[in-house]
């Protein structure tokens, strides 16, 4: 919805704009992509964007696993939600970089770590191509209309705060990315109709039991901490963890942070309050 809101703001300033998500089944907190094109003229191209002028990163954990600069133009800019300064961020190459701690802003002003509207303010400032006033109007129209005036105003305030707090500079380069191998079988290699068992491929295991490679720990904003002095080994958290990422070691709960999404159910349900949730600082 943020990408659409940016497009709306651009249109308010007499541009033509197109915005679309990567069409897929969205899950709250799961990595997704969205694209926006802005031009003075009518935009006819319908493809995804492969060489952007700006890349906005809402979730900084992606910086560790994905080369977010892939395809970014030489003079392009990356805008990142992080508490770090631009020169504290290391990416694959040195480019224009703007940072803002949108998660903190959202938690403070919206009470939830939903950073898309904050990042709109940051993007407006970073690009200078759309005014903050238009962004605010667009937020009021998109979010205020749907969630009510009060929610619209809160989101607009979050955007304004991110606009003000944005730090612009250069990131550091030189970070190596080993692209994750994907199994892309030819027609001949593809099992008929796609039916598969547990298949070892050069890209690792696919099929039955292979989803463990999907490390959902990246989704987390809050992190559980288990106090082993208090833990009585009752296994309630083990039973209730939606991820199934709690194991019992010596009768104590141990959390696998590769998968923990930080939902907080374990802390909520622990009968002896042995688990607490904290804002995660990565």
């Amino acid at each position: 919805m943020a990408a659409q809101t940016y497009a709306l703001a651009a249109v308010m300033e007499d541009n033509y704009a197109v915005s679309f998500p990567f069409f897929g089944a969205e899950r709250r907190g799961a990595p997704v992509m969205a694209f926006t094109r802005v031009d003075k003229d009518v935009i006819r191209i319908k493809t995804q964007i492969y060489e952007p002028d700006y890349v906005v990163v809402l979730d900084e954990t992606l910086l560790e696993t994905v080369d977010v600069l892939k395809g970014l133009k030489e003079d392009g800019m990356v805008v990142i939600n992080t508490a770090r300064r631009p020169d504290e961020v290391q990416l694959s190459r040195e480019v224009n970089c703007a940072t803002v701690d949108a998660t903190s802003i959202s938690l403070e002003l919206l009470g939830r770590p939903i950073t898309n509207t904050s990042m709109l303010g940051a993007l407006a400032r970073a690009t200078g191509e759309v005014s903050m006033e238009s962004i605010e109007r667009a937020i009021m129209e998109k979010f205020g209309g749907k969630l009510g005036t009060e929610a619209g105003e809160k989101n607009a305030r979050a955007a304004r705060k991110a606009y003000q707090d944005l730090q612009v500079g250069m990131c550091r380069g030189g970070k190596d990315f080993v692209p994750r191998k994907e199994w892309l079988p030819t027609v001949q290699e593809m099992p008929l109709g796609g039916s598969i068992g547990a298949l070892e491929t050069e890209a690792g295991l696919v099929g039955i039991g292979s989803f463990v490679r999907n490390k959902t720990g990246d989704w987390r904003t809050f992190i559980p901490h288990v106090d082993h002095d208090k833990c009585i080994g009752c296994r309630m958290c083990w039973f209730y963890c939606p991820e199934g990422c709690i194991t019992m070691e010596d009768q104590k709960a141990v959390i696998d942070f590769d998968y923990c999404k930080g939902c907080g159910i374990c802390a909520q349900e622990c009968p002896v309050d042995a688990i607490s949730m904290e804002r995660e600082r990565r």
Partner: protein, 300 residues
């Protein structure tokens, strides 16, 4: 035959790495059911959140044979698998896991057919009270007044205008060998019923109340708590029946007002006192239906 949490095996037949929203109750339901059902189980999932969060080709969270065909046919698909398994001389457990849309609405015909034929299968409905997979549209299971994307809170109409369909009673009326309503907020009850279903022959129907933080707009940490309050308020009742005769009903020690159940859920945020009263009336009616009379003491 009383299974405890501590008796469950460590091995997951539905693994981590799945992409359910944080706090989603469905993977809790599925993983723990599978621990009871065991490895000799074949699973069918129709179109639902589970289909999507359980794997995107070529990756999959299932460690047992797993089939998907379409949305409205869970009852038929599990019938087909089981008959083939039987004909080929095997005895694997065959389980279908559908959502409320796939059960109450589009899938009710195939479900009813399979139940009437007394197919030797387990049908699980995980009920999150709307079409969550497609973005929170109302279903026959959505409770009165709830805001969904197709029952939005408009200037004229505030949310859904009808009550939740009583699907569990429809299934009880099929007089199948075993049916039970469940909630993960009651683990012992949950496990006992799962085990009973596993060990019964013929058609078994398990209906699990499954809070959805995204669709209900509550704190993801409160998913279990929502399941608890639903039972304590009478919005959901835990019971079981054999051949249509109720054999056990769980009665909460105290009855909490519906207000306590709905208070932390964004989908009810727009409720007026009048709407609260109407939903309370529904809960009271259900309570009387299930327990005979309302508790005498005024709820605090």
């Amino acid at each position: 035959m009383s299974l405890n949490i501590k008796d469950l095996p460590d091995e997951h037949l539905f693994t981590p790495g799945h992409t359910a929203c944080p706090g989603c109750a469905a993977p809790i339901v599925v993983r723990n059911l599978m621990k009871v059902f065991g490895k000799d189980t074949i699973v069918y999932a129709p179109a639902n959140c589970l289909l999507v969060f359980g794997g995107t080709y070529p990756y999959i969270a299932w460690k047992v044979p797993y089939l998907h065909e379409a949305f409205e046919n869970t009852g038929a698909c599990i019938s087909g698998v089981k008959r083939a398994v039987k004909k080929l001389g095997k005895d694997s457990l065959v389980v279908g896991i559908a959502g409320d849309g796939g059960t109450y609405d589009i899938g009710i015909q195939a479900l009813s057919g399979a139940a009437e034929r007394n197919e030797d299968v387990i049908y699980v409905c995980y009920d999150n009270e709307a079409y969550m997979n497609t973005g929170i549209q109302r279903s026959g299971s959505t409770p009165f007044g709830a805001a969904t994307t197709t029952t939005p809170v408009g200037k004229k109409i505030p949310g859904k205008t009808q009550n939740k369909k009583n699907m569990a009673e429809i299934m009880r009326a099929h007089e199948i060998p075993y049916m039970a309503t469940m909630s993960i907020a009651y683990p012992k009850d949950f496990l006992r019923k799962a085990e009973k279903a596993r060990d019964t022959r013929g058609f078994r129907y398990l209906h699990v109340f499954s809070p959805c933080p995204t669709g209900w707009r509550h704190d993801p940490a409160l998913s279990i708590e929502m399941g608890r309050r639903a039972v304590e308020s009478g919005m959901w009742t835990l019971y079981e029946a054999e051949y249509g005769r109720i054999t056990d009903i769980y009665k909460p020690k105290r009855k909490i007002p519906v207000k306590e159940y709905i208070r932390d859920q964004g989908r009810f945020r727009h409720f007026t006192e009048e709407m609260v009263a109407k939903l309370q009336e529904y809960a009271d009616h259900k309570w009387k239906q299930m327990y005979g009379s309302l508790p005498e003491e005024k709820p605090e």
